[in-house]
């Protein structure tokens, strides 16, 4: 029996021991990184302590973004989802740290993307056709946009523009009206940034965003409840449960 700890997701296939004896199992597996082969006969595999639980984002210090990149990101996400009394903005929700950890990890490296060549441009219907991983695209795009701002708009960078000018630039990116240097497709970057910002805003707080489950409170989503059986036929009634995440909610713990 191969004992596996919770860091097994980092395990690479090449270093793994292969368990092939009948009945033996090595439940080291991973949707992201592959696992050693195993043979199953006469048993239903299960292993103690091997649950594929997600990992919490730790820390508040930025590890992926440089200071210049962070200034750009904080300004941009606050335009994508601004703050007001109706609900939190992306910035105060922790979306910047969410993006930092996503780009530092498997997603940033292009996990589950195919990035092999050749790389012709393609039609809009053919979707993502960049050679860049998400992390590479963020770096290249932020630099290219700030360069464009400095050359054409007379400000040292995107973050120094006023809100209207920032919105105008984001709209130009979204419409692919902004030619950028460095092989960056502005619309591809904008679509990714907007999608990732909404992911950070609305995903479980363990990933660094959705601070205090504020985005869930704003819309009325109760979070990771798993049983609504008694509410199914209570048509039109507000469900009074406060939001709950994988770690529970503040009311569950003593202050």
């Amino acid at each position: 029996m191969v004992k596996v700890n919770l860091s097994r997701r980092r395990l690479l296939v090449v270093g793994a021991t292969v368990a092939t004896a009948s009945g033996a199992l090595a439940a080291i597996h991973d949707g992201e990184l592959g696992a050693p082969p195993q043979t199953v006969r006469g048993t239903v595999p299960w292993e103690e302590g091997a649950a594929d639980a997600p990992r919490e984002v730790a820390g508040i210090d930025f590890k992926f973004f440089t200071n210049e990149e962070l200034v750009f990101i904080e300004a941009a996400i606050e335009r994508l989802i601004p703050s007001d009394p109706v609900g939190p903005g992306a910035l105060e929700s922790g979306v910047a740290i969410f993006l930092d950890r996503q780009l530092l990890g498997p997603y940033g490296r292009g996990d589950h993307f195919f990035l092999g060549g050749p790389w012709p441009k393609g039609t809009p219907q053919q979707g993502y056709q960049s050679r860049f991983s998400p992390a590479q695209l963020y770096r290249a795009a932020i630099a290219a946009i700030d360069k464009h701002v400095a050359a054409k708009l007379g400000a040292p960078g995107f973050a120094k523009l006023d809100a209207n000018a920032q919105d105008g630039l984001l709209k130009a990116l979204a419409k692919n009206d902004l030619p950028l240097e460095g092989g960056v497709d502005g619309k591809t970057f904008f679509d990714m940034l907007l999608q990732n910002t909404k992911e950070g805003y609305f995903s479980d707080p363990i990933y660094g965003g959705n601070k205090g489950m504020g985005a869930w409170k704003m819309i009325g989503f109760p979070g990771a409840h798993y049983d609504y059986l008694e509410w199914v036929e209570r048509h039109g009634e507000p469900v009074p449960y406060p939001p709950v995440g994988f770690k529970g909610r503040p009311g569950w713990r003593e202050a």
Binding site: P37, V40, V44, Q125, S203, I219, Y226
Partner: protein, 587 residues
């Protein structure tokens, strides 16, 4: 170096729904069966326990249970004049991998096709004339609904399908789908309870004179023990079904219905992280000798087998046929050849409905939680003068309220900024979606073949998909979307938003993982790859399961029909083939 292994009676290539069904059936008949699965082992408590299964980011957006495109993807284009480029990121469809595969992260929508769906060419020609189908390459299936009925029922019993029959042995039943083919039995479990959105849809549809009924579902309405002794629990309506594994043993999957039984059988073996590279043929190419596979440690093996059963997803089965040289590849310029022919999909559109005064609570949902009307599916209505064949079911459906994916905002709302945020806050609890689940007819230019440029991690050519929506299907979808809009307006909402099927097929927005065709069934080897028992015309000890067999796709989710065809094939193998191996259908 290739290691030669000990021969088995049957090798299953891929271990999702059809692999599990064939494994159980053939092992019960005493055969020695080996399943090769290219992905990992997966089980409920380890991989999607209730404590962390409801993770929209990880499962939906980070593709944690899906095929890793870095190892293998396909190339895509809309027509033969374009250069196909790799699908670098999944969107339109979400391919599975691992034990249970798409059967783990499906919605559990269990449908039977209409009797006329199996006669797409002859039925429509007879009723509307040859001109009605002249621009399409649609074919009859070579099997009838009546022949498949016992096997549809077998899958219902396995899953504990929850629903209400509309046609029991020819007698129309109140509360069910009056248009369905005759059932020999009532569903094994009663339908799910309906939440507010589907209930409003049903009331509005009834007001318009339609016959709404609860969607048949593999999300169980009550606890159930299936014929193999597997126990399933009642669904808790958590709203994390499609794209997610069920932590509650409430969704029918290979894991919840077959594996606890099959894995204990002494004549069954499963190997995971083992990818079949090709089917090996005898020198005269009339017989498969086995398969060559490579495991995740890079070791290569030859597995001899008396029978090779392709039980991977459509796209992999077709690719393995092409890579192994089984059957003549299809050529869209001449219409000759069969492998890769008649690739089809599903033609989806939707209508969002927004209320001021009604709290829908969309997060109370399940994969197949819907009230449906079937008046405009298949040939349930007169198509004379409409310019298209086929149709769709229209469903007031609430599968969940996952906020990254499923916030509906009114027409004209920007995708970001303060206006978007306010619209999200205002409408999330007070809106839901009508889904229009349309058929997909085959046409000459839509097909699958091997890509000339791009290769997978093993150095094999990728599959190349050439597809765009036929004019027939755009006409169908527009007509159906208008019908859905009428039901939506009859609910007296504040406003509605029509999301029509416009433009060419794009790989980016999610539509459905209902890819069909390419290894189609039929009555003769000139028009089809496999016979009605899913047996290769060219190499009779090779069988190809799955929706690749569909000559075109009907306006329903495919899994019920995929399973029925698999059970029928298993029955033919056990009752005829193993006694006298050879072609099961003489041409």
């Amino acid at each position: 170096m290739v290691t030669k292994l000990k021969a088995v009676d049957a090798v299953l290539v891929g271990f999702g729904w059809t692999g599990a069904i064939l494994g159980q059936q053939l092992c019960d008949a005493g055969l020695n069966v080996l399943a090769l699965e290219r992905g990992p082992w997966r089980d409920t408590p380890t991989d999607f326990a209730t404590g962390f299964a409801q993770d929209e980011l990880r499962y939906m957006w980070r593709h944690h249970l899906f095929q890793n495109l870095a190892d293998d993807t396909l190339t895509i284009r809309n027509n033969i004049r374009q250069e196909a480029l790799p699908m670098r990121r999944m969107g339109s469809f979400l391919l599975g991998t691992g034990v249970g595969s798409g059967g783990v992260h499906w919605n559990g929508q269990i449908w039977r096709f209409l009797p006329s769906d199996f006669l797409t060419r002859s039925h429509n020609e007879r009723r509307y004339g040859k001109k009605a189908v002249q621009d399409l390459t649609v074919q009859d299936w070579g099997v009838t609904y009546e022949e498949l009925e016992p096997y549809y029922d077998q899958f219902d019993q396995l899953c504990g399908t929850s629903g209400k029959a509309g046609n029991l042995n020819g007698r129309i039943q109140p509360g069910g789908n009056p248009f369905e083919g005759a059932r020999s039995k009532e569903y094994p479990n009663p339908p799910m309870k309906q939440t507010y959105g589907p209930t409003l849809f049903g009331e509005a549809a009834a007001k318009l004179g339609y016959h709404p009924f609860p969607h048949p579902t593999g999300n169980l309405s009550q606890p159930y023990v299936n014929p193999l002794g597997a126990q399933l629990g009642a669904c808790t309506y958590c709203g994390f079904c499609e794209k997610f594994g069920c932590g509650n043993y409430s969704k029918a999957s290979p894991q919840t219905t077959i594996l606890p039984y099959l894995l204990l059988k002494p004549n069954f073996t499963l190997k995971t992280e083992c990818e079949v590279l090709r089917v090996e043929l005898s020198a005269d190419r009339t017989r498969a000798t086995g398969v060559t596979f490579v495991n995740s440690a890079g070791e290569e093996f030859f597995q001899p087998a008396e029978m090779v059963i392709l039980s991977a997803y459509v796209l992999q089965n077709v690719r393995l046929l092409l890579l192994s040289g089984i059957g003549k590849p299809y050529d869209p310029t001449t219409g000759e050849g069969v492998v890769g022919k008649n690739y089809a999909y599903q033609t989806m559109s939707s209508v969002n409905v927004f209320f001021d005064d009604k709290i829908i609570n969309p997060f109370i949902g399940a994969g197949a939680l819907a009230t449906v009307i079937d008046e405009f599916n298949g040939d349930n209505f007169d198509h004379s003068g409409k310019g298209f064949i086929g149709g769709a079911y229209i469903a007031g459906m609430v599968t969940g309220g996952r906020p990254i994916e499923m916030i509906y905002t009114p027409q004209g709302t920007p995708a970001w900024g303060m206006e978007w945020k306010h619209a999200a806050a205002k409408n999330y609890l007070r809106s839901f979606n009508l889904s229009i689940h349309g058929s997909s007819m085959s046409q000459r230019g839509n097909y699958l073949d091997l890509d000339p440029t791009y290769r997978d991690i093993h150095g094999r050519p990728m599959l190349r998909m050439t597809f765009d929506f036929p004019e027939n299907d755009i006409g169908m979808s527009n007509f159906l979307t208008d019908r859905a809009a009428e039901v939506a307006r009859a609910m007296n909402p504040r406003e509605i938003k029509l999301n029509r099927r416009v433009g060419s097929w794009s790989v980016t927005p999610y539509q459905t993982t209902h890819n069909t065709g390419g290894a189609i069934m039929g009555t003769n080897p000139r028009e089809s790859v496999i016979n009605k028992y899913l047996q290769s015309w060219d190499v009779p000890n090779v069988f190809s399961m799955g929706a690749g067999a569909f000559p075109q796709n009907a306006g329903y989710n495919p899994t019920g029909t995929v399973a029925a065809l698999a059970y029928q094939a298993a029955h033919a193998i056990i009752s005829q083939y193993i006694k006298k191996p050879g072609p099961l259908v003489q041409e």
